[in-house]
Amino acid sequence: MHRLLPLLPAVPLLGAGLLVAGGRHLPRPVAEAFGCLAAATTAALAIVLLPHSSPALVEWVGGWFPKGGESVGIVLIGDGPSLGMAALVSLLTLAALAYSWHYFDEPPRGHAGTFPALILLFQGGMCGFAVAGDLFNAFVFFELMSAVAYALTGYRIDEAKAVQGALSFALVNSLGAYFMLMGIALLYARTGELAMAKIAEGLNAAAGHHGPDALTLTAFVLVLTGLLVKSAAVPFQFWLPDAHAVAPTPVCMLLSGVMVELGVYGVWRVYGTVFSGPGGLPAADVTRTLVVLGVLTGAVGAVMCWYQRHIKRLLAFSTIAHTGLFLIAVGVLKAEADDGAALYILGHAGVKAALFACAGILLDRYGTVDEFSLHGRARHLRGVGATFAVAGLALAGLPPFGTGLGKAVSEEAVGAPLTVVYVAASALTGAAVLRVAARVFLGFGPRPEEREGEEREEDKTSGADEEPETRQRLVRVPRTMGTVPAVLLAAALAVGVVPGFAGLVGHAVDEAGTWGVFSSVHWTATGVLLDLLSTLLAVGLALVAVTRPGLLSAPEWALPLRRLQSGHVGDYVAWLLVGTTLLGALALPAVLR
């Protein structure tokens, strides 16, 4: 079975190559069906391999099995989390391709295969990153998924905003990737190894009884910078809303649903395999670093999410808030917190992709994603409205959705003070979505008025007057576009309710983790109550916002926070440098002992 691991990236990549070679003269449905077939084959492969992942599948590509404990080859790891991520990536890719089936605008000149080929390359990069057990190989696939994501984000070149968003995305993420490469070079210089487990051995041997030194700390900070840029942690997050607001909807589903989460997965994998030994970083310092960043990310993401009226930007900020929550869970370094993060990521992927899919329908139907100008206009889209509202409740943590279960398990593991962040961030992001649902799909409350006088900062990103992605505005919602969000939402529900599923996920994550303990994962009374609390808070906040808009309008202190999201890529790069320094400062006590 381990022989099949390299095929997880290779199948979609070959599919993309063949599509580009032959896609020029293929009719569009054939090209798209071929894309779906390649994505589905990969998904099936990941799902077939999953039951064999205990103990973890290990493959040395090219048959370079270690002799005398040493190898020159590349190792791939097929454990529960890596195969689970590959399966999630592939299923979501399939959903995105199905969503774009036949209705998504294609570039001129009849390249029918180009869009599905780019999506398959994206899938291949993400699958390769998920199963990588070699740090440099992980970097290669990290770069592959980045390069494709930049092109996909700027896909609609006729809009200046799309090009601008793709440019900030590309500059900030490339810089993060170079930092990561520098970190890998430092680790290679110290240990002469690239396989993650062998680097850890080398670090332990070099450190002896002294613990980590400045080189280990710097390598940790640099590698983490690359991964945290990808996962949009504060202060590396600025690229994400600019990119997500302009990327085509099927691409947003993948960016928000799994690519950002792969950054968190990378942090978990790299810390657990490379830096968790005596030669790595002490647990207390890693926890401090990740939890501080996680709390900041959750808070900034949730507050910014609440004050958006551009629906896709609003969803993008809610992704930032939730990444903060995942980072906290990964950062407390406990088995059951890891389980919580895994379940939360699974549930969140379904819910967030469903929300983006609904936003895409609004864009293609009305040519705008502005909450204010859409007020009451989508009343007759009952199915889409219901999906959007239920997804909003699930985002707030309504039991028995997978998001609720992941949130409850994480809360139990992280302890009372951090639980406040979980309840607040999920309530606020859920409330923002519910507010949009109430206004757009039900027409509740007074129609929000444009302010008189000069244009304010926030009105520049209102989302009014966007180009629809379909060739012309939709009159009727195509069946595929309506079905995909409902199926995704049902999948998020299944994560929470299918008996035994949560236990399986928890067991697989604990087995792959480094804590050596197994925790049982299930619904608890406290968890359900906290989930209900955040859901009720979300509903209450949304109701107040809709009926009394004046009460919850942006206070003065929130405006500077909004202005930081300036769209100036120089600002974003400056913040990236500050973030790297912040990481170094937070982890500094590791080398001072």
């Binding site: 092109a151 400045a214 913040w575 320094t581």
Partner: protein, 246 residues
């Protein structure tokens, strides 16, 4: 943010980063030491498979999976450029005017073009024997074609490099690399396993098993990719004009 505040942030962040990097560099192993754990193992593995150029052995055998990823990054970047640099709605194409080239430049370009092209192909073909290989030779071969642009004009260049054919060649050679990987699995071995062909005689063109084949696939892929990439940028500079045309 005003430029002043941005400058302060850069100073703060850059200062911290510089301090980290300096501290790390002071702990690097000293230059020129005898300890090369990976190098020693890689040379041994290369010689065992009759590959004279160890770097080719690392690229196309020991870490051929990384090369697959890198090749795909180039392939994806080119595909991305084809998408992003397409003719926008508010642009039109103007066929470029023919132009006069100074006679010495013209003679030089036409003489050097075939030499440069053969050099590129030579560098690709000898990848497993001497420094160079598919990546380097591919770039040389692709740039050789562009001497036609210097020696004649854009229309002449377009005649000798039909972009559509090169786009298909790019995709086919990328697929060929992947198919060679799959062949290993189908033969009952590992993905990208170099066990399908005999290793041959050391230091000859046919030595090294599948290394020459993977190397050739990369050479074709890089040459086609560079041609397509330059074509897209040249199109933007030479042919595609703003305004919806007359």
């Amino acid at each position: 943010m005003n430029p002043r505040a941005r400058l302060w942030l850069v100073v703060l962040g850059g200062g911290g980063l510089a301090a980290l990097l300096v501290a790390a560099c002071l702990r690097l192993p000293a230059f020129g030491g005898p300890w090369h754990p990976y190098g020693d193992r890689a040379v041994r593995a290369a010689l065992a498979r009759h590959i004279a150029n160890t770097i080719a052995s690392v690229n196309f055998d020991q870490r051929a999976f990384d090369t697959m990823g890198e090749m795909t990054i180039l392939f994806a970047a080119v595909l991305g450029c084809v998408v992003l640099l397409r003719q926008a709605r508010d642009e039109h194409r103007d066929p470029p005017e023919p132009c006069e080239v100074a006679a010495p430049v013209r003679r030089y370009a036409l003489v050097v073009l075939p030499i440069a092209l053969v050099t590129g192909l030579y560098v690709i073909a000898h990848g497993q024997l001497s420094p160079g290989g598919g990546f380097q030779g591919g770039v040389v071969a692709a740039t050789a074609l562009h001497l036609m642009y210097l020696g004649a004009d854009y229309a002449a260049l377009e005649r000798i490099r039909p972009v559509e054919a090169f786009e298909i060649g790019d995709a086919l050679s990328a697929s060929a690399y992947l198919v060679l990987g799959f062949a290993g699995v189908l033969a009952g071995g590992a993905f990208l396993a170099n066990t399908l062909l005999p290793y041959g005689t050391f230091n000859t063109l046919s030595s090294g098993g599948t290394v020459p084949l993977l190397n050739a696939a990369i050479g074709m892929e890089v040459a086609s990719a560079v041609v397509v990439l330059l074509a897209r940028f040249l199109d933007q500079a030479v042919e595609i004009e703003e305004g919806s045309g007359s």
